[in-house]
Amino acid sequence: MKLRLSKTSAVSLGAIGLGLFAGALLMAVTGSNPLAGFWHLFRGGLMNIERFGNSLASSTTLIFTGLSVAFAFKTGLFNIGASGQMLMGGLLASAVGLYVPLARPLLLLAMFLAASVGGGAWGALPGWLKVKFNVHEVVSTIMMNWIAFWTVSYVVPRYLRDVFLETQSRRIPAAASLRTEWLTELFRGSYINLGLVLAIAAVAVVAFLLERTVLGYELKAVGHNKHAAQAAGIDINRRMVASMAIAGALAGLGGFVFYAGYSVNIQIGVLPAQGFDGIAVALLAASSPWGVWAAATFFGILHTGKGFMTAMTGIPPTIADAIIATIIYFAATGVLIENVWDRYSKRHEQRAARRRRVDLEQGVK
């Protein structure tokens, strides 16, 4: 029984390895002990059930933003606007949570829909601008991020503000929170919440959509070769807008689980980093939905562990961001790892061929 590794997972694992190595280098250069740093970094994310719960809670948002970026990738689009879509999804969900008096299940459903609509609209608009006016989605989604940023800054202090602080919204009522007693207790008071269940369901739904449905087939066709897709009669413009709308809705749901699950209110003046980390998640996962789950969990552990590491070693918590950023870089330059992989497997194959030949010759004798 041999463990067989595919080339894509080799690239991902290689990128993680190189990212961690870069982190180690950074720690060493600045006079810290990398081994102690990593020990505390991972211990901080895993050492007890509460912290593990928090890691999972951190990963929840990243699953959604990672799915968002990965989904757009499948259609050949680069959604760098997950942050803004998250904000809009979170803003609408929070508004519904604060103002709509409904029983809990219905209220959560309403928030779910509001978040999808907010994020979806924020994704669909750049999609529409692209197909209609040829505006590159990278630039337009960035602009949409900032428009969302200022929209939140305008709406929260005026309509949702906290009693004491102008810079954040009121705490959402318990009925509107995804936190739920049994989960919190199960994980000894961690931030973990129902969002994780939603996120895993989303992974399954997206995987099913892409692999089994007509829509998924069409979106992938457009992503691989839009000219051929168009010549085959697929309405590529509508599919691209649809893809961006779905990607936006996924990121919007990321806002829902973050602001109404991980957090209890929404702050102004922050463009959530999870939106950009979603790019790292998607790249590391090579856009596969189940890969997104794995990558998001890994990053969730890093994010939860970094505070503990800082407390124990004095290494700045931004080391986690540096590691993630480096992983993106190496995932982007996957060719590097692929070349090593190819060289290795070629040598391996040659050796196997030689062995076969020897076996054959011996057999003849």
Binding site: T30, N134, W146, W150, S153, T318, D321, Y329, T333, V335
Partner: protein
């Protein structure tokens, strides 16, 4: 009304100048065929290097420390650009993703060091670039008053870089080869031009200029390094499209963005803008950018090979 324009122009110019230099940086890279979405990251690197240098040297060198800061920023940007060049030129990576990585690496790395140095992650510079009436130029009627009185020396620097770039790109050997690389690298290769070397050079210049722009933003407007350039790098990227990858076009585009942002910032003190809700004014620059992109993306004059890795094997 006229008075208001005279009043806000210096602010608009101050905002335009770093934007112009950053977008000129983008111009070199993109004219050679390499998308540089990492401009924001290079700005952050420039702000960090600049802030560190200025705050270390200011006690000993006073005003000269500003210039030392700009120099260090330029060098830091050039070195950091090697990362992008290595990914895009040597490894044929997806240029947009590499640029995104550049942005994230720049933010994370500089914040890491800033935390180690100051504890807070912010580096406040003790002195800023002074404003002067620039000799002779300030005496020109109207333009002198708007552009060169109480102006930063960096304004002049930016205009010099602009002029040099325009001449370099359109009149010299280097410029012709640079444009050929961005339009049709196979043709350039057949003519014996080393595409890899040209693109490396272009990306390095790009990083250097974008970092310089970041540092100028630091010493004229921001006053501190805090780990972000506030999306200015992306605005510069939009200016590149808006200005259709031409030096003079960039001047127009960045001036336009400068005005739009200044109007948003000073709206509170202008009586006839005071009743407009904040949100309209604050999102104004970004909405305007989107509109500009809508108008200018259709008939795009983008370099034809922009974003395509050059693969020698595929002819």
């Amino acid at each position: 009304m006229w008075e208001t324009i005279i009043q806000i122009t210096p602010h608009a110019i101050a905002f335009t100048i770093p934007l112009l230099i950053v977008s000129l940086g983008g111009l070199y890279s993109e004219r050679s065929g390499v998308v540089n979405i990492g401009l924001e990251g290079f700005m952050v690197v420039g702000m960090f290097a600049g802030a560190l240098t200025v705050s270390l040297l200011a006690p000993a060198m006073q005003g000269t420390a500003i210039w030392a800061g700009l120099l260090m920023a330029t060098l830091a940007g050039a070195v950091f650009a090697l990362l992008h060049a290595f990914a895009c030129v040597t490894l044929n990576a997806n240029q947009v993703i590499s640029g995104t990585a550049i942005n994230m690496v720049a933010g994370a790395l500089t914040t890491y060091f800033a935390r180690l140095i100051t504890g807070s992650g912010n580096i406040v510079i003790p002195i800023a670039m002074p404003r002067h009436n620039l000799a002779y130029l300030a005496d020109i009627p109207i333009i002198g008053e708007m552009l060169f009185s109480r102006a930063y020396a960096s304004t002049l620097l930016a205009l010099v870089i602009l002029a040099v770039s325009a001449v370099l790109i359109y009149r010299t050997r280097f410029g012709l080869r640079l444009r050929a690389c961005g339009e049709n690298p196979h043709a350039a290769d057949a003519a014996g031009i080393n595409i890899y070397r040209m693109r490396y050079t272009a990306v390095i210049i790009s990083g250097a200029l974008a970092s310089l722009g970041g540092a100028i933003f630091l010493v004229t407007i921001a006053g501190e390094y805090n780990g972000t350039a506030g999306g200015l790098g992306f605005l510069a990227l939009a200016a590149l499209i808006f200005g259709q990858w031409k030096p003079i076009g960039l001047l127009g585009a960045t001036l336009f963005f400068g005005l739009a942002s200044t109007i948003a910032n000073v709206s509170r003190i202008l009586p006839y803008l005071a009743h407009i809700p904040d949100i309209v004014l604050q999102t104004f620059p970004y909405v305007v950018t989107l509109l500009a992109l809508v108008l200018f993306s259709r008939s795009s004059q983008a370099p034809k090979a922009l974003g395509e890795p050059y693969d020698k094997g595929r002819r």
